[in-house]
């Protein structure tokens, strides 16, 4: 891909603001577990303000994928995200991860969330990241019908690529993601079933991400992060992210929203 202004790589700082839904959809182990739910609340309450300030320091705009119910629960946080110039994308209403959701149900969920975000921020949602990585065989069609210009669900390439239906290109860009750029692969520790006993240090996360950045930049590819303010929002990790952004900006990164990168890809298609 040839990126604008001779940039070597497109980087999207993308945050999934799942808050409590991370725990209500994680399994039975956290049901009725007040302090587990409070870990979710750390995202909007503590993580987001810190992240917004850090992004402002670098003049970087990000994408926040926010379940509708969380937008309703933390309207001030969502308004502030919008006011600071960040993009908000679709991420389910309840962070639904059901593989058997029907077309009609999903259609209604998307409309409902689009209205919530529009009413709070005036933004029209144009991108989709399925909660828990779940999408459906009708999803591409549905995204097109809702006027979306990108999806961030596939994990099979370092993208971007243009989606096709029945072999024909459609105006929908895929901005893939992978667990290597997902903070939960490093910092989602929980003692509640299903347990996850792993906690990498900010230094280890930085090292892995920097290595991957350096190599992808040589290939002129892209990076789409999957970050959760309730985990990555701890001050030690926000400081690490800040260092990383500083490094990436100084080494040829175009850091922007999923929306703006998708629009650029649609306009140029110079693969």
């Amino acid at each position: 891909m040839i990126w604008p202004n001779k940039k070597r790589i497109a980087v999207m700082m993308a945050f999934d603001l799942d808050a409590e839904t991370m725990w209500t959809t994680h399994g039975e182990g956290s049901r009725g577990h007040i302090t587990d739910l409070s870990r979710g609340a750390y995202g909007p309450k503590q993580g987001v303000p810190r992240i917004l300030d850090m992004l402002d320091t670098h003049g970087v705009r990000a994408t926040f994928f926010i379940p509708g119910v969380i937008a309703e629960r933390y309207p001030d946080v969502v308004r502030e995200i919008g006011r600071r110039g960040h993009e908000i994308g679709f991420h389910g209403y309840l962070h639904e991860e059901f593989p058997d959701t029907t077309y009609e149900e999903e259609d209604a969920t998307m409309s409902r969330c689009e209205k919530i975000i529009y009413d709070l921020t005036g933004q029209k949602i144009v991108g989709h990241r399925g909660p828990g990585g779940v999408i459906h065989d009708y999803s591409l069609k549905l995204l097109l019908e809702h006027g979306y210009i990108y999806s961030s669900n596939w994990r099979d390439s370092d993208g971007p690529f243009i989606h096709k239906i029945d072999g024909k290109e459609i105006p929908l860009v895929e901005l893939p993601k992978d667990s290597i750029f997902d903070d939960t692969a490093y910092d989602f520790y929980t003692d509640s079933a299903p347990e996850r006993y792993e906690l990498k240090s900010p230094g280890e996360m930085f090292e892995i991400w920097k290595d991957e950045f350096d190599s992808l930049a040589v290939e002129n590819r892209m990076i789409n992060f999957v970050l959760h303010p309730q985990f990555v929002g701890r001050v030690s990790r926000v400081n690490m992210l800040s260092d990383l952004i500083g490094y990436m900006l100084s080494n040829g990164a175009w850091i922007d929203t999923n929306r703006d990168v998708a629009q650029y890809v649609l306009d140029h298609k110079t693969f």
Binding site: S38, R39, Q46, P49, R84, Y189
Partner: protein
């Protein structure tokens, strides 16, 4: 809780005494073997002699090292002690008191069941308070749920029983007052996090899914220092270390803890008990 997102304050406006930049509480959950016994219950397994004995490393070996390092650096700490530990390890709990540390409530048998009634929890609190009071001579003012398990009715129950603070939540890095229907309750919350809990790094067992490898002190104290440094810079935060004498009490870790305490003392930390911080915070909110 006066939480408002304005882009600058990551917490309510609070300043710490003596121009300190952060309030630090070095806390110990002195669970002995009951940590492992109660976990096995909650995970549907059982423990054998090795886990039982691992738990007893706390009262038999680790605790003394903890008390010594605190004394060496002249800091006061809070110990959360299950009632049964006070009964079974009376001499050890007395020595915690004699060193001037705070003793707080942590269940009777380290009960970590989520679905109990208010009556059941009342009974647990009564038994624990009696056991603690028989050693300390005073009613505990602080509570931490075993395995961080508390219930919707817990805050009000604590208030009814004369508690000043709770330290179980994980929703932010500042101290706040609990609320009910938009109104503040005179109960301070001192939140903590798994990042600053030695259990996250050092708990080892074959009796439940938690079996894992060890972490180096470099990694663990590196994480803690990075958190401490960042929170200190923000200026209005608290920092709670949640330690277990059976884990942090190993010789190499205690020495690393000593260095870390010294580092924090020389970098703007007000290190004291949860009770003292809670009184300060409550005073600030009330005035």
């Amino acid at each position: 809780m006066s939480y408002k997102i304005d882009g600058r304050t990551n917490g309510p406006f609070i300043t710490w005494p003596g121009n300190s930049r952060i309030a630090v509480m070095i806390t110990f959950d002195f669970d002995a073997e009951f940590l492992r016994i109660s976990r096995a219950v909650s995970k549907g397994t059982t423990i054998g002699f090795s886990d039982y004995s691992r738990g007893q490393y706390g009262p038999h070996e680790g605790l003394k090292r903890c008390l010594d390092i605190l004394e060496l650096h002249n800091v006061k700490s809070t110990f959360f002690v299950p009632g049964i530990v006070a009964e079974r390890y009376g001499r050890q709990v007395e020595s915690i008191c004699e060193h001037g540390h705070e003793i707080a409530c942590h269940g009777y048998m380290h009960e970590s069941k989520k679905d109990i009634t208010k009556e059941e929890e009342t009974e647990i609190l009564e038994k624990s308070e009696t056991a603690l009071m028989s050693i300390t001579g005073k009613h505990p003012v602080g509570h931490r749920g075993p395995q961080s398990v508390i219930h919707a009715f817990t805050p009000e129950l604590l208030l009814e029983r004369g508690y000043l603070y709770s330290s179980s939540m994980k929703d932010c890095d500042w101290a706040y007052l609990w609320e009910k229907e938009g109104k503040s309750l005179p109960l301070v919350e001192l939140p903590c996090d798994i990042t600053m809990d030695d259990f996250t790094y050092f708990y080892f067992t074959f009796s439940d899914p938690a079996v894992r490898s060890m972490y180096t002190n470099r990694e663990v104290f590196g994480n803690w220092k990075a958190e401490f440094d960042g929170l200190t810079e923000e200026g209005n935060k608290i920092f709670i270390l949640k330690l277990h004498p059976q884990m942090i009490g190993r010789a190499s870790r205690i020495s690393a803890l000593g260095r870390f305490i010294a580092y924090m003392k020389s970098h703007g930390a007000w290190i004291t008990t949860c009770e003292e911080v809670a009184r300060y915070v409550k005073g600030g909110f009330v005035s």
